[in-house]
């Protein structure tokens, strides 16, 4: 009894329960029915498999990097190989994992269901964006197989245009194409959210996951074209020498930095905002409460998206931008930190007076809150102008953005995957193993990246293949942590795979959550809803849910 009292998991009787006869998974059979599908849920699954594939490739490079840094000497691989390792790690993780992760998988699967729609507005464009993702991915893999690229993920000119003989253009073409995949997903989401909400689903009844994906979509649509243009310019400069970034031809190498960060700073929010949406859903569900200050959380997403466009030059404080423009960008950077702080406190106060249980998604969400707070606060270090001078381009930066991206975003992604796994597959995963994975990831993560903050303040530069011997102790700690972290990431792969066949039958609403996605069968039908739902309650209305459940019981009785 004590085991069940600490949990709200509400599974059907496992002896009699079966998966629904018909669902989006078995509606049509054969590989072709998947490759030509217009169903947003199937496309989400295709994306999930694809990004997992790339995540483990990118992760393998991370492992190699940490292994090389175990000793101060350059003893595992040569310099250029090491440079290719971190370049491929960055390129794959940013463009092929982090940017598409939550929107293209969880967002694709859930967003239409959450607003009561049958599909996205443009199902074929949705499929096209998955194909574009793969075409771009194959270019990136080609660059890797043909001998790699060593520009770093930032493609800094004139290094990338004039001084490297690696496969820069191939990789740039890959990212250019992946960018369109991102633009199409964003467009599809914006149109769907505007036009296809079910009757009664007003803007302020939208789940916060939808709001955050909406904000991220705006960034994808407005920011990604700038990246595309920048990469075209890099390719033209490299192939025919047009000279926009070349000072000897009257070009400006700093122009590249401006253009690149004009996309790549908002890209950080493309990555983190959908993750924040996941956290809102999970914390609300497992504390049985409406998200505290729903409107503030919704608007803070939009505020982050808008402010996110005006802070790019904080990547350039030491690059000779004028002192006064540095002032402006520092101030705006401080302002963009405020909505994130608002969110953290709103989540914390959602717990207040709740009825809290600690299922795996909740553990990941708690992990997210701790790690994202550290990631966010260390961002303030870097936004403070004089401090940035000492800290930028060191391991402090590496630790900071890994706390935000990996500690924040990836914890949120795993929280979401565990939260909606029963909905996506109809089956549960082994609970104790999944909790172990969440804890392992959290410990491994801190052990990996906390020492890097200290390394950064000591002055160890990033992207160093060999380093002065006094930095070794902290690097050894970091590498040890990376090993633990690796285990933490392998575990879900194993038990989630196992659960596909052997997991307990989940039923429609194992967490007793309020979202529309939980009111339909698991796994859902291809058309999501048998009849168009009419929404007459706010998001996270647990009283409505209790009332509804009661009614169902009486009707059945």
């Amino acid at each position: 009894m004590s085991a069940t009292s600490s949990t709200i998991v509400n599974l059907p009787d496992q002896k009699t329960a079966t998966l629904p006869k018909r669902s989006y998974l078995n509606n049509e059979d054969g590989l072709l029915s998947w490759l030509l599908t217009g169903d947003h849920k199937r496309i989400a699954i295709l994306y999930l498999i694809s990004i997992t594939f790339f995540f483990f490739i990118g992760g393998a490079f991370a492992g190699l990097i940490r292994l090389e840094l175990l000793t101060p000497q350059p003893d595992l691989v040569a310099s250029d190989t090491y440079n290719k390792f971190f370049s491929m790690h960055g390129i794959i993780m940013v463009f092929l994992f982090l940017v598409p992760s939550v929107p293209a998988t969880l967002g694709n699967f859930l967003m239409p269901i959450m607003i009561g729609a049958k599909d996205l507005a443009f199902p074929k464009v949705n499929l096209l964006s998955w194909y574009l993702y793969w075409v771009g991915g194959l270019f990136t893999l080609a660059a890797l197989v043909l001998g790699g690229v060593d520009t770093g993920w930032t493609f800094t000119t004139p290094l990338s245009t004039h001084y490297l003989n690696t496969h820069v253009v191939t990789a740039a073409v890959g990212i250019f194409i992946i960018g369109f995949s991102s633009i199409f997903t964003g467009l599809n989401f914006i149109v769907t959210i505007h036009r296809m909400r079910a009757p009664g689903m007003t803007w302020f009844r939208l789940p916060l996951f939808v709001w955050s994906n909406y904000a991220a979509s705006i960034l994808m649509v407005l920011g990604t074209p700038v990246l595309a243009i920048t990469l075209v310019l890099v390719a033209l400069e490299r192939t025919i020498g047009i000279g926009v970034f070349d000072p000897t031809k009257g070009g400006d190498p700093l122009l590249f930095q401006h253009l690149f960060w004009f996309y790549s700073h908002p890209a950080v929010y493309i990555m983190i905002l959908p993750g924040m949406g996941v956290i809102s859903e999970v914390i609300s569900t497992f504390s049985r409460k409406r998200v505290f200050g729903y409107t503030a959380v919704a608007f803070s997403s939009v505020a982050i998206a808008l402010f996110g466009f005006f802070v790019w030059a904080h990547h350039m404080f030491i690059m000779g931008v004028s002192n006064y423009s540095a002032l402006v960008f520092s101030l705006l950077t401080m302002l963009v930190a405020v909505p994130s702080a608002i969110k953290i406190f709103n989540w914390a106060f959602t717990l207040q007076k709740g009825s809290i249980t600690f299922e795996t998604p909740m553990l990941y969400a708690f992990g997210f809150m701790g790690l994202f707070t550290i990631g966010g606060m260390t961002g303030v270090f870097l936004g403070a102008l004089g401090m940035d001078i000492h800290l930028t381009e060191t391991y402090f930066i590496v630790a900071h953005f890994h706390f935000v991206m990996v500690g924040g975003m990836l914890m949120a992604f795993l929280s979401g995957v565990h939260f909606w796994w029963p909905k996506m597959t109809g089956r549960m995963y082994p609970e104790s193993l999944s909790k172990l994975a969440a804890v392992t990831t959290f410990i491994g993560f801190n052990l990996t990246f906390l020492p890097q903050f200290i390394l950064g303040y000591l002055g160890m530069p990033r992207r160093y293949h060999a380093y002065p011997p006094e930095f070794q102790v902290l690097n050894v700690l970091s590498t040890a942590g990376a090993t633990v972290l690796g285990v933490g990431y392998m575990l879900p792969l194993l038990y989630l795979g196992w659960s596909l066949k052997y997991g307990a039958i989940a039923g429609n609403n194992p967490w007793q959550a309020t979202g529309l996605e939980w009111q339909i069968q698991s796994p859902p039908l291809t058309e999501n809803f048998i009849e168009v739902p009419i929404v007459d309650h706010e998001a996270y209305d647990y009283e409505w849910l209790a009332h509804k459940t009661e009614q169902e019981v009486t009707t059945v009785g």
């Binding site: 406190f345 606060m377 060999a466």
Partner: protein
């Protein structure tokens, strides 16, 4: 307690060598560290507040204790609190950081200037007296030192962690940074901007010395020619003195005392003549025509190295009278004939 002696030695050595904190070896370092500790403090406080709230609520309102959730809409007062307090803290960080930034990047006027050229993959420092050093920089303590830096190829970044300074070294433009070392010793000099294959080997040592030792070092390392002298020789050999000879009938403007002055250009704009302007005027002369002169100067792009440009700039900087130019003119005119009319020279 049994600790392996090897491990023990290693730990002691490590703690002594670097511990968890870099040395404070410049006048800026204590200011940077003060802000660092403030930021660290608000991070720890923030994390504690969030942690206390989350764990406190999680324990107090766990399902066993609190089986039915009480629905709360929100609270304007609370939301205003956690908007205004972080905003205020962040604004303090902004102002503090900005003050530090201006302190680090605005050199005092009495700073001694050293030139630094970054190239794949080394640092080349050039002192006024013509002393060159590679991946090393000798500086006196107790005196502000300004570095005027430029890259010959890609972006590099000049970083001395123990001084808490760093500045990007950019192709095509001068950037500057200054510091005043306080403690004699040797300090790491890193390139922190990824610059290609041997990026992690582009490191050097900054040696801070007492003024006496520094004077001895300067004398011991002299090459016999100062930067300005090298510049003078280059000025003559490239034929600059044919036009910039300081006479009333010269085809180029008089360069004497031009450094630091405001110059009127033919397009009507007024520019301050500094290192960057002089360098650019040599490389892209057609964009900087001094009022009253014809656009006849050819570009020297690709004909003079960054080191050479530094020498030229340093020479022109030091020109306070026409005396030296005319001297050079006399000695170099013997073997060359200048074109008779300005129109005969293509720009």
């Amino acid at each position: 307690m049994h600790i392996s002696p090897v491990l023990w030695q290693f730990l002691v050595k490590w703690l002594n060598a670097s511990a968890l904190f870099p040395r404070e070896a410049s006048t800026i370092a204590p200011y940077a560290d003060a802000l660092y500790f403030f930021l660290l403090l608000i991070t720890v406080v923030g994390l504690t507040v969030v942690g206390t709230l989350v764990f406190g609520f999680a324990i107090r309102y766990r399902k066993e204790k609190h089986p039915v959730a009480t629905q709360v809409e929100g609270s304007t007062l609370l939301e205003a609190t956690w908007t205004i307090i972080p905003l205020a803290l962040f604004l303090i960080c902004f102002v503090w950081g900005a003050l530090l930034y201006f302190r680090i990047y605005n050199p005092p006027t009495n700073a001694m200037n050293i030139y630094v050229v970054g190239k794949q993959w080394m640092w080349k420092a050039e002192h006024q007296g013509g002393q060159h050093e590679i991946n090393a920089l000798h500086v006196p303590i107790g005196r502000p030192v300004q570095l005027t830096m430029i890259s010959q190829d890609v972006f590099h970044s000049f970083s001395v962690p123990d001084f808490r300074i760093k500045r990007e070294v950019i192709p095509g433009r001068y950037s500057t940074v200054w510091f005043q070392a306080t403690t004699p010793g040797t300090y790491h000099l890193f390139c922190t901007q990824y610059c290609g294959t041997n990026h992690s080997q582009m490191i050097g040592e900054v040696t801070a010395m007492t003024p006496d030792d520094f004077q001895k070092w300067l004398q011991a390392s002299t090459s016999g020619m100062s930067l300005a002298q090298n510049g003078e020789r280059l000025f003559a050999s490239m034929g600059c003195n044919a036009c910039h000879n300081g006479t009333a009938s010269a085809r180029g403007p008089n360069l004497s005392g031009v450094y630091g002055s405001k110059l009127q250009l033919t397009n009507g704009s007024e520019v301050l003549v500094n290192d960057a302007y002089l360098r650019d005027a040599i490389l892209n002369p057609s964009e900087h025509i001094t009022a009253g002169y014809s656009p006849i100067m050819p570009t020297y792009q690709g004909q003079v190295s960054e080191d050479g440009l530094i020498d030229l700039v340093e020479y022109i900087k030091g020109l306070q009278s026409n005396y030296r130019i005319q001297q050079t003119l006399v000695t170099s005119q013997a073997d060359q004939t200048a074109p008779t009319t300005p129109t005969g020279v293509k720009p």
